[in-house]
Amino acid sequence: MMASSYNAKDEDGHLPGSVGSGGPGAVKSKKPDNTAFKQQRLPAWQPILTAGTVLPAFFMIGLIFIPIGIGLLVTSNNIKEFEIDYTGVDMSSPCFSCSQNYSWNSTSACTCSVPFTLDQPFESNVFMYYGLSNFYQNHRRYVKSRDDSQLNGDKSSLLNPSKECEPYRTSDKKSIAPCGAIANSLFNDTLELFYNHPNGSKITIHLEKTGIAWWTDKHVKFRNPGGNNNNLSSVFRDTSKPVNWHKPVYELDPSDPDNNGFVNEDFIVWMRTAALPTFRKLYRIIQKKKDNMTPTLPPGNYSLEVTYNYPVRSFDGRKRMILSTISWMGGKNPFLGIAYITVGSVCFFLGVVLLIIHHKYGNRNNSADIPN
C-alpha cells in the first residue's frame, strides 16, 4: 500500500561520465540512492496530541467508563454469595473435634455438620466453592512439582515420573501416579449440602460434579494412560498411590469412568494452581430447578456435611465453603465496578479542570495550540 508506492526508487540521474556504462560488471558509483527511506524522508503521519484532541478523549473516557462501572457494580451486587468457615478453630465450631483429632493414619473418617442459614434465595445455577487460606499453592517448589506428560497419559512418564516430582516421585520403589506435591495434597474433604425444610425433613441437594474444570484441561491436557482401556486399575498396576491419598487415582470416582483417574474433575481443578495463598476452587454446581418458579436454593436453614480429611491447622490455614451465583462477569467482585467508576470520574473531573485551566491560560498564551 503506502509502502510500495513510496519506497520505489526514483534515482537521480547520475553525473554524466562518472559511471562506467559497461553493464553490471562496471564500477558502480558510490552515490547514495535517492530513496525516501535512505534519505529519511519516508512520508510520515505526525500526530499532534494537543489539549484540543486530548480533552474530548478525557470526557469520552469519563462518559463511557462511568456507566460501565455502574453496570459492573450493580451486577456484582446482584450476585448472591454465601461463605462459611468450617475449619473448626473455635471450641464452639462443629468441626473442632475433627480438626483437633486429625491424624493421617486414621482409617475412620471424621465427619461434622455445619448448619447455616440463607437469608435470600439463590436464583439460577449456584456454584459451590471450597476456599483455602494461607495455603501456598503458588510456592515454587509446589508449582513445579508435577509431571504434565504423566498427566497427559504418557506411559513412560507414568512409570518414570519427572525429577521435579521429588520428594513425591516414588514410594515403595514404585512410581507415584499422579506424582508431585500438588497431586499429593489433593483436597479430599467431602462436602455435602442438605436443605432443612421447614417441615423438618432434610433434603439432599444434588451437587453436579462435572463441568467444574476447564474444558480443554479435561479433554486434552489430562488424559488417562492406556487410551480407551476402561480397566484403569490394570493401567495403574505398577504405580503407587500418592502417600497422602486414601485411595488410588483410579478410584477417585468409580461411578463415572469419564470422571475417574487423571480426568477426574476435582483432581483437574486442584491441579490448576491458584494465584494467591487465599483462593477458592470450584467444587460442585447446583443446577437450577427445571421449573423456574422455585429458586435453586430457597432461603432457609441448611447444613453442610463435611467429611473432614484435610488438615490445615498445622500451617494455620482456613477452610471455607462458598455458595455463589455467577453473572456474565464471573463471581462477586466489586473491584471492577469501583475502578471503572473512579477512573471515569477522575477523567471527567480532570477534563473539566483542564478545560477551565486551558480556557484561562491557553487562550492568552497560545490559542493556536488548541485547534487541530
Binding site: 558510490k30 505526525q46 480533552l55 467444574i212 474444570a213 497422602n244 495463598p277 462477569m329 464471573g330 495550540d369
Partner: protein, 1134 residues
C-alpha cells in the same frame, strides 16, 4: 599503550643510553675497538590491536571488562550452577549473541588495520647494500641502512640526508602529511660526505627517538683514510622524516636513523583507544542504579523469606515437603543460593537485549549517514564514511569543535584578490574558477575608480616580481613548464602550485602570479640575476644582491637588487604592522584603510615598500650584511640588527590582498556551529597571520571581536622573562574575559547575544608548551586553569604553530577539564590524526592530503560544509533516538519485573516467576523490541529541515539533557507506577478468581498472563504516544508487535508442546479472553497507566526563547522539559 609496546619491542637495555650510535651502511669504523651492531626495532608499523593468536582471549577479556557483559556472564553462570527459577538459556543465548557479534565486528575492523599496515610495511624500497641497490620491503629496513628515495616518494623511515641529486646538496620535501604545511622545505646534505657512498665510513651519534618534529640533535663522525676523523653536527635540516614526501629532487640517499615505531611520525601517532560515548557512560550509571535496585530487591526477598519461614508451618507444610537434598543443604549456603535465585529471577530488570538493540541501532543507524546524498561530493564521487558506529549520538552532544585550518577550513589555494597601489584599489575581475588566461592580453589592470600613475603601477608590479624567494621549476622535469605561457596553467588552478613555482609559502606564489596577471612575469633566477618579462614583453634583468629573509619576528622580507642601469633598489614586503612604522606617515593613511578592510574580510594582506639606495648606503649595508653573515656568535641578532637598519625610510607603494580560499560554506558552517552553542577552536601548524585571517574569513573572529593574543611576540618584553610575562598576560586576559564578563548562565539558557563583548584568543605552540610545562611545576595547574577559563569565555580560540601532538594535548586538556565537555576534532591531514584520535569524536575530511585522517577518524565527510548536517541533523536525531531508547528500555524492564517482585510477597518468597518462561524470554526479544528499534531508527521529533534551519535547537539536548538524572527519575517513577498498577489491579481482580461466566476459576498462570498482556500493550502504546513521526514502518512494527503477541499467545497455549516439561499456558490465554472481566481489567489498566502520559500532553507548554512557529508546527517533546513531568502544574508559570 603503543608506547609501552614500543619499549618492549625495542629492548629495555637501550633505554638507559642517552644517544644511539649508527654505523652508516653497517660498516665498522676503524676507530672503534669493536663493531657492535646494536639492536634497534625494525621498520614495521603496527597499528592493529590483535593477532590471529591473541584475538580470542584478548577480545573476550576486553569484552568482559564491560560491566554489562560481565554481569550477564555472572548471571549465566549462576543459572548453570544453582537451581534457579529460569533456565540458563534465557540469559546465555542473548549473551552469546552479543559477544559473537561484537567480536566479529572488532575482528573485521582489526583486519582492515592489518591490511593498511601491510600496505605500508610491504612497500618496496631501494636499499644500498655492498654497492648494489637491492629492493626490499619497507619493514625490513634496519637502522644504518642507506636508502634511496626518488621524487614523489615518501620516506620509509627517518633518514639523515647523505646525498642528493641536486648539485647544491639540497633537496625539497613537503611535510603535508606530518604537520599540514604543504609548502616545500629545503633540507641539506651533511657537508663533506663523499660522492661515493660506498667509500663513506662514518658513524652517527644522535639522540634517542623523541616525538618533536622540529628537533633533532646529532653528530656525524666521518672517517677518511690517513686523516683525523671529521665531526659534523647534524640538525633538523639534515633529517628527513618518515611520512614526508620528496619533491623536485630526482633522488636522494639517506641513512636510516629511526625506524618503525621509533620514527617521529609513529611517535606522534597516538594509539587508538576505544572511544566510548557519553551515552554509554550514562547507561553504565543507570545500570549501577538498577543493579542496586536489583540487589536490594534480592536482599529484601531473601531476608523476608527467612523471616517468613521462621514462622511455624510455613517453611515446610505437609503438602509441600522439601527433597532430601534440600534438607541436607547448609543453611547459609541455602541463603546464598536463594539470594542468587532472586537475582536471576529479577535479572531481566537489566536487559541484555538493550545492549543488542543499542548495538543494532548504532550499526543500522549509521547507514543513514552513508546513505545521505547531501554528503555526496560529485568531485571525488564519494559520500560520507562511518568508521565507527559507536559514537553516532555523540555527534549530538558536541561542545567543542577543534578544527584544522589548512585543507579543512581553507582549500589551501592562495589566490591574488586585489591590490592597492598608491591608494587606488585594483581588483581583478575574474576569479580562478573561470578560464581567465586571456584577460592578461585584453587589458592588464582594470581601473575601478581611478588609476594610479603608470610609473607607480609598474614599480609596484616589479616589486611583486622581485621581492620573493620563489623558484621556477626547471624545465625538463616530467611536467611541461607552463608558467611562461599564460593560460594553460591557469586552466588548471588546482594543480598550479606544484606546477611551475616552488616557494616556501604559497602566498608568495600567489603574489608572483598576481603580478603575472597584470603583465609582469617572473621568469626565474639564474646565477644571481632575476629575469622578468614586462608588459611590453621585454625581458628586464635585475641583479640580486641580497635577500633579507623573512622571519616571524620582523614579519617582513626584503631584496636588494641592482637594475641594468646601475640603480640599487630595495623592495620590502611584510605585514602592515611591521611596514607602517618604517615608511613615511603620509603615505600610510592612504593605504591603511584598504589594508584594514581587506584584513577584516579575511584576506592576507601584505604591504609593499621600496627604497632607492645610494651607492654609499648600499656599501654600508653590504658590508654590514656580509659581516653579520660571517659572525660566529649571535649571528641571528646581528643580522636582524643590520636588516632593521637597512629597512628604514622606505616609501610605501601599495598593498596586496591574497585570499586563502575557504572551503565551500565554511563561514556558514562555522556560524551554525557557534549558533548551536559549540565553541570552535582552530588548531593549525600554520603561521599566526595566515590563521588569523582565515578566522576572520570564517567569521569566527568578527569585527567587534577583541583579540587576546598570547604568542611569542607578545611575550617579548625587555623587562620580564617570558614566563613572568606569560603569567602577567594570562592574569590580565583572565580579568578581561572571565571576571569582567557578565556571568554566563550555564546550560540551555546560555545567551549568545551580541551585546556582550566577544573575545577571541590566540596562542601559539611555543607559548602553549610554556603553559603546559612551566619551569616550576607548581605553576602548571594554575596556568592551565587560567588558560582554560579564558578560553571557555572566548567565542573562538586560535592555536597556531602547533605540532601534531600539541593539538592532541589541547584536545586532551579541554576534554579533561571541568564538566568533561564533548569534543570533536576535524581535520584532513596526517598531522590531524593525533587530535582526531584524542577527541571524543574524530572527523576526517576526504581531502587531498592523503587518507591517514580518514582512516583514523570515526566519521569521514567529503567537505567541511557537511559537518553542519552531520551534527545538527544526524547528531541531534541520533542522540534523541538513543536517549529515548535507553530510557525506554530501563522503563519497560522495570515495569516488567516489578510485578514479579511483588508477587514474591504472595508466594512465600519462593522465587516463583509470575510469567511463563516463554514470556520472560520473549518479552525483550520479540514483543517489545521491534517498535523501539524502529523508533530509534526512524524518529524525527523535529524534521531535518527545521533542525538545520534552527541551530539553537541543538542546545536543547546539550549536556546530555535527556539522560540526566531527572528524566531518568521520571522514567523510573513511571515504570514503578505502572508496575504497581499492573500487579495490584490484577491482584484485586483475583480476590475472586471465579472470572468466567461458568464459574470456573483462574490460576496463577492466568494471573501472570493478564499482567503480561497489560504490560505488553501498555509499554507498546506508551511508545506509540512518544512517536512523533509515524512512517509505515512504525505502524507496521507497533501494531504488528501487538498482533504478534496475541497470535503467539494463542499459538503457544494452543498446543501441547512435546518438548516442554510443563504445559503451563495450555489454553490460558484463550480462557482469559473468554472472560469479560479480564477484558475489562486489561482495558482499564492500560488506560490508567497511560493517563499520566496523556495528561502531560495537555499540560505540555512551549517555553523558552524559541520561536513560536517551531512550537506551533511541532509538538515539542516533553522529555526535553523533564521537570514538568514531576510538577506538571508548573508548566503554567510563565
Amino acid at each position: 599503550m603503543l608506547r609501552r609496546r614500543l619499549n618492549r619491542l625495542c629492548g629495555g637495555d637501550e633505554k638507559r643510553v642517552d644517544s644511539r650510535t649508527i654505523y652508516v651502511g653497517h660498516r665498522p669504523c676503524p676507530d672503534t675497538e669493536a663493531f657492535i651492531p646494536s639492536k634497534f626495532c625494525d621498520n614495521r608499523i603496527v597499528s592493529s590491536k590483535y593477532t590471529v593468536w591473541n584475538f580470542l582471549p584478548k577480545n573476550l577479556f576486553e569484552q568482559f571488562r564491560r560491566i554489562a557483559n560481565f554481569y550477564f556472564l555472572i548471571i549465566f553462570l549462576v543459572q548453570v550452577i544453582v537451581d534457579t527459577p529460569t533456565s540458563p538459556v534465557t540469559s546465555g543465548l542473548p549473551l552469546f549473541f552479543v559477544i559473537t557479534v561484537t567480536a566479529i565486528k572488532q575482528g573485521y575492523e582489526d583486519c582492515l588495520r592489518h591490511k593498511a599496515d601491510n600496505e605500508v610495511n610491504k612497500y618496496l624500497v631501494t636499499v644500498l647494500e655492498d654497492g648494489r641497490s637491492v629492493k626490499k620491503e619497507s619493514e625490513k629496513i634496519k637502522v644504518g641502512d642507506v636508502v634511496e628515495v626518488v621524487e614523489d616518494e615518501t620516506f620509509p623511515c627517518d633518514l639523515i640526508l647523505l646525498q642528493s641529486s641536486r648539485e647544491d646538496g639540497t633537496c625539497f620535501v613537503t611535510t603535508a602529511s606530518l604537520d599540514g604545511e604543504s609548502n616545500h622545505k629545503t633540507h641539506y646534505t651533511v657537508p663533506d660526505t663523499e660522492k661515493d657512498l660506498q667509500a663513506l665510513t662514518a658513524t652517527i651519534e644522535c639522540e634517542q627517538p623523541q616525538p618533536d618534529l622540529y628537533k633533532f640533535v646529532g653528530r656525524m663522525h666521518i672517517y677518511k683514510p690517513e686523516q683525523e676523523p671529521a665531526v659534523r653536527s647534524l640538525g633538523p635540516e639534515n633529517l628527513l622524516l618518515k611520512g614526508a614526501t620528496l619533491k623536485n629532487t630526482k633522488k636522494i640517499y639517506g641513512v636510516a636513523v629511526y625506524t618503525g615505531m621509533e620514527t617521529k611520525m609513529a611517535l606522534n601517532y597516538q594509539g587508538k583507544s576505544q572511544k566510548r560515548s557519553a551515552v554509554e557512560k550514562s547507561i553504565n550509571a543507570f545500570l549501577l542504579v538498577y543493579l542496586c535496585i536489583l540487589i536490594s530487591k534480592a536482599v529484601v526477598c531473601t531476608t523476608l523469606k527467612y523471616v517468613w519461614q521462621s514462622k511455624e508451618g510455613q517453611d515446610e507444610p505437609w503438602y509441600n515437603q522439601k527433597t532430601q537434598k534440600e534438607k541436607d543443604t547448609n543453611m547459609y549456603l541455602k541463603m546464598f543460593t536463594d539470594f542468587l535465585s532472586f537475582m536471576v529471577l529479577f535479572n531481566f530488570i537489566i536487559p541484555v537485549s538493550m545492549y543488542v538493540t543499542v548495538e543494532m541501532q548504532k550499526f543500522l543507524g549509521s547507514f543513514f549517514i552513508t546513505w545521505d546524498k547531501d554528503f555526496f561530493d560529485p568531485e571525488i564521487q564519494e559520500g560520507a564514511l562511518v568508521n565507527t558506529s559507536d559514537l553516532n549520538e555523540e555527534l549530538g552532544q558536541v561542545e567543542y569543535v577543534f578544527t584544522d585550518k589548512t585543507g579543512t577550513l581553507t582549500q589551501n589555494n592562495m589566490e591574488f584578490i586585489e591590490c592597492c597601489i598608491d591608494g587606488f584599489q585594483y581588483k581583478h575581475r575574474d576569479t580562478w574558477s573561470e578560464v581567465d588566461g586571456f584577460t592578461v592580453t585584453d587589458g592588464p589592470v582594470n581601473k575601478l575608480q581611478q588609476k594610479a600613475g603608470q610609473e607607480k603601477e609598474e614599480l609596484f608590479l616589479r616589486a611583486l616580481c622581485l621581492c620573493h624567494t620563489v623558484q621556477v621549476k626547471e624545465a625538463g622535469s616530467e611536467e611541461v613548464l607552463t608558467d611562461q605561457v599564460d593560460g594553460i596553467d591557469e586552466m588548471r588552478p588546482q594543480l598550479e602550485e606544484e606546477r611551475g613555482f616552488i616557494a616556501s609559502s604559497p602566498d608568495e606564489i600567489a603574489l608572483v602570479k598576481g603580478a603575472m596577471k597584470y603583465g609582469f612575469t617572473f621568469l626565474g633566477l639564474e646565477s644571481k640575476s632575476m629575469k622578468i618579462k614586462n608588459r611590453e614583453n621585454n625581458i628586464e634583468e635585475y641583479k640580486l644582491l641580497h635577500v633579507l629573509n623573512f622571519d616571524p619576528v620582523r614579519r617582513r622580507m626584503s631584496v636588494i637588487v641592482q637594475t641594468k642601469s646601475g640603480e640599487t633598489l630595495l623592495f620590502c614586503k611584510g605585514a602592515d604592522s611591521s611596514i607602517f612604522p618604517r615608511v613615511k606617515p603620509e603615505e600610510v593613511d592612504r593605504i591603511r584603510m584598504h589594508v584594514e578592510r581587506n584584513a577584516t574580510e579575511g584576506y592576507r594582506t601584505l604591504c609593499v615598500a621600496f627604497k632607492q639606495l645610494s651607492a654609499e648606503e648600499y656599501a654600508v649595508a653590504d658590508t654590514g650584511l656580509r659581516e653579520a653573515r660571517l659572525a660566529l656568535q649571535d649571528r641571528e641578532e646581528k643580522l636582524i640588527a643590520v636588516y632593521n637598519q637597512v629597512e628604514t625610510g622606505m616609501s610605501l607603494i601599495g598593498a596586496t590582498a591574497v585570499e586563502d580560499r575557504l572551503q565551500e560554506e565554511a563561514a556558514e558552517t562555522m556560524e551554525a556551529l557557534q549558533g548551536a552553542g559549540m565553541k570552535v577552536w582552530v588548531l593549525t601548524g600554520d603561521k599566526m597571520e595566515t590563521a588569523k585571517s582565515t578566522c576572520y574569513a570564517c567569521r569566527l573572529f568578527q569585527r567587534g571581536t577583541e583579540l587576546l593574543e598570547l604568542t611569542l611576540r607578545t611575550l617579548e618584553d625587555e623587562r620580564l622573562k617570558r614566563e613572568e610575562k606569560l603569567r602577567e598576560l594570562l592574569q590580565e586576559y583572565h580579568r578581561k574575559a572571565v571576571q569582567d564578563a557578565p556571568p554566563v548562565k550555564a546550560g540551555v539558557t546560555r545567551s549568545w547575544s551580541t551585546a556582550n563583548q566577544d573575545y577571541g584568543f590566540i596562542i601559539d605552540g611555543a607559548t602553549l608548551s610554556i603553559v603546559m610545562n612551566p619551569q616550576h611545576e607548581v605553576d602548571a595547574s594554575q596556568y592551565k586553569s587560567l588558560f582554560l577559563q579564558i578560553c571557555q569565555n572566548c567565542t573562538a580560540v586560535l592555536c597556531c604553530r602547533m605540532a601534531p601532538l600539541q593539538k592532541a594535548q589541547i584536545v586532551k586538556m579541554v576534554k579533561t577539564s571541568k564538566g568533561s565537555p564533548i569534543t570533536l576534532s576535524i581535520g584532513d591531514g596526517a598531522n590531524d590524526v593525533s587530535m582526531i584520535l584524542e577527541a571524543h569524536v574524530g572527523i576526517g575530511i576526504k581531502g587531498k592530503e592523503g587518507r591517514q585522517a580518514v582512516r583514523n577518524s570515526d566519521y569521514a565527510i567529503p567537505k567541511l560544509k557537511h559537518l553542519k548536517k552531520l551534527l545538527l541533523a544526524h547528531g541531534h536525531l541520533y542522540y534523541v533516538r538513543i536517549a529515548h531508547l535507553v530510557q525506554y528500555f530501563f522503563y519497560k524492564n522495570l515495569c516488567f519485573i516489578l510485578p514479579q517482585f511483588l508477587y514474591q510477597f504472595f508466594c512465600g518468597y519462593s522465587q516463583q516467576p509470575l510469567y511463563d518462561a516463554a514470556y520472560l524470554t520473549m518479552y525483550n526479544i520479540c514483543f517489545t523490541s521491534m517498535p523501539i528499534l524502529a523508533y530509534s531508527l526512524l524518529e524525527q521529533h523535529i524534521s531535518i529541515e527545521i533542525l538545520l534551519d534552527n541551530a539553537t535547537l541543538y542546545r536543547e539536548i546539550a549536556n546530555n539533557a535527556m539522560l540526566r538524572w531527572r528524566p531518568f527519575l521520571y522514567w523510573t517513577l513511571l515504570g514503578i507506577f505502572q508496575g504497581l498498577l499492573f500487579f495490584f489491579g490484577v491482584r484485586f481482580l483475583f480476590s475472586n478468581p471465579a472470572l468466567q461466566d461458568n464459574g470456573q476459576v483462574f490460576g496463577n498462570w492466568s494471573y501472570g498472563t493478564i499482567v503480561f498482556t497489560v504490560l505488553v500493550f501498555t509499554v507498546t502504546l506508551k511508545l506509540a504516544l512518544d512517536t512523533r513521526h509515524w512512517t509505515w514502518i512504525n505502524h507496521f512494527v507497533i501494531w504488528g508487535s501487538l498482533a504478534f503477541y496475541v497470535f503467539f499467545s494463542f499459538f503457544w497455549g494452543g498446543i501441547i508442546w512435546p518438548f516442554l516439561k510443563q504445559q503451563r499456558l495450555y489454553f490460558v490465554f484463550a480462557n482469559m479472553l473468554s472472560s469479560v472481566s479480564a477484558w475489562l481489567v486489561i482495558i482499564i489498566l492500560i488506560i490508567l497507566s497511560l493517563l499520566p502520559e496523556i495528561l502531560l500532553v495537555v499540560l505540555r507548554k512551549p517555553r523558552g526563547p524559541h520561536s513560536r512557529q517551531v512550537y506551533l508546527s511541532l509538538p515539542f517533546p516533553f522529555w526535553i522539559l523533564p521537570f514538568y513531568h514531576i510538577h506538571p502544574i508548573l508548566c503554567y508559570s510563565p
